[in-house]
């Protein structure tokens, strides 16, 4: 048995966070984010972080709490519109920001984890995203060279893990988590349920245990919904 299971988020991150490091954080909006691990990073207090994440939480939740705590130097994201603090820090010059098209961001992370140093995509050709990047023609079409991304640490949210780190995600909480699990030099995962080895179906493991270094079971997660949209029972078609 490998010893991947830690008692809590803080002990799982202690000794592996440091100033100036690059952290990948899974999630799309507030869906599929590692709440306990983000809180532990706030508590452990590393500064000047570069954070790779599709979004940056909201003012008082998700990665927003690291922003509020002045720990983030730079974000690499595709969409960051949901927090006012972000805007203030950015306009004041206290926060660097690199926008990547969402699919390019996802693919850069997959490439980083897969040993692909760079890849050619049509996305962004002819836009400011392509400025300064090499381009190349394939079959008469224009493509932009994008590079693989890796991180010192990836913080991942999964639904279940077994003790060897095999992971399954739940519904759209999967999003960026599987690729980020592959692209972190160290990958720490927060799960809702820890099961024994052998309890997960080997055909349906979304992230094999080889990518997971440390596991913590989530405690007291809020799982906040950003935009509750519902229909009334009368509206049944």
């Amino acid at each position: 048995m490998r010893h991947k299971v830690y008692p809590d988020a803080k002990s799982a991150l202690e000794g592996i966070v440091s100033d100036g490091m690059t952290i990948m954080a899974g999630g799309f909006g507030l869906c599929g984010i590692a709440e306990n691990l983000i809180a532990a990073i706030r508590d452990l207090g590393p500064k000047h972080l570069t954070v790779v994440s599709n979004n940056c939480g909201v003012d008082d939740f998700g990665l927003g709490i690291l922003l509020a705590n002045g720990q983030i130097k730079k974000m690499i994201s595709s969409y960051v519109g949901e927090n006012k603090l972000f805007e203030q820090l950015y306009l004041a010059g206290d926060l660097e920001l690199e926008f990547n098209p969402q699919g390019t961001l996802a693919e850069r992370i997959r490439a980083g984890g897969a040993g692909i140093a760079g890849f050619y995509t049509k996305t962004g050709y002819g836009t400011i995203i392509a400025e300064g990047k090499p381009t190349r023609e394939f079959n008469g079409q224009h493509y932009v060279l994008e590079t693989g991304l890796v991180a010192d640490l990836s913080i991942i949210k999964a639904w279940k893990a077994d003790k060897e780190g095999n992971l399954v995600y739940r519904k759209t909480a999967r999003n960026f988590n599987p690729m980020m699990a592959t692209a972190g030099k160290i990958t720490v995962v927060e799960v809702e349920e820890l099961v024994e080895v052998g309890e997960l179906d080997p055909e349906n493991i979304h992230t094999p245990g080889i990518y997971v270094d440390r596991i913590v079971v989530e405690v007291g997660a809020e799982k906040r919904i950003e935009k509750v949209t519902t229909r009334k029972r009368e509206e049944v078609k």
Binding site: S78, G126, R170, K171, E226, K227
Partner: protein, 214 residues
């Protein structure tokens, strides 16, 4: 009389054929799902990792793990599948989506789209828009014909930073419907909203277009 948002969505829905796989952007495009004629099989994709999106959940049944790309709570349908963001954009970039319907700030007469950034304003980011316009087999833009200021949004050349070049197939505004003969080809006026005249469209459109009204 200009089309309402619902009428614009209904017009866009007419472009959808049975069996299509479609990605709907946020805003007016969201309304397209409700405007489909009954009996059609259409699957909606959400770029955060879901193919087969159902309606909003009943009150009290929202699931924080089940949202669309607009971060709204949604539901499953019987043929739903979930996948990662990388797999989702492989689907989009690889040309597997039959149709992407999205809003825009400007569309040029060459089919360039600018829909993510206004210089001087806080930029929220392009999200998946650049991937969608570069990857979908067909791209329909749904937008108001002019700015609140009255400035045309169908322009000779986009003045706002681009989302993609030569990517538009179809433009539906509150006043008219346009089609490009091909990607990067000629813009053709196809339909007018009721009571809208060709002269009005000419006055409110900077982009060069041909008239091909039925």
């Amino acid at each position: 009389m200009a089309w309402t948002r619902e009428q614009m969505a209904a017009r866009a829905a007419q472009q959808i054929r049975d069996g299509f796989y479609v990605n709907l952007g946020i805003g007016i495009p969201t309304l397209v799902a409700n405007a489909l004629p009954p009996g059609m099989t259409v699957s909606f994709q959400s770029e955060n990792g879901m193919l087969g999106i159902g309606p909003f959940p009943y009150e009290g049944e929202e699931d924080p793990d089940l949202i669309n790309a607009g971060k709204q709570t949604v539901t499953e349908v019987p043929d739903t599948s979930y996948f990662s963001s990388a797999d989702s954009f492989a689907m989009i970039r690889g040309g597997h989506m039959d149709l992407s319907i999205l809003g825009s700030m400007q569309v040029s007469e060459e089919g360039d789209i600018a829909n993510w950034m206004v210089p001087g304003k806080m930029v929220k980011g392009m999200g998946g828009a650049m991937d969608l316009v570069a990857g979908a087999k067909e791209v329909i833009v749904l937008m108001e014909h002019v700015e609140k200021s009255g400035a045309p949004k169908l322009v000779t050349r986009c003045t706002l930073p681009l989302t993609g070049t030569h990517v538009t197939d179809f433009v539906i505004t509150d006043l008219a419907v346009f089609e490009f003969t091909k990607r990067g080809g000629t813009l053709v006026l196809k339909e007018l909203a009721p009571g809208v005249t060709l002269d009005e469209i000419k006055a409110k459109t900077e982009a060069k277009f041909e008239v091909g009204l039925a």
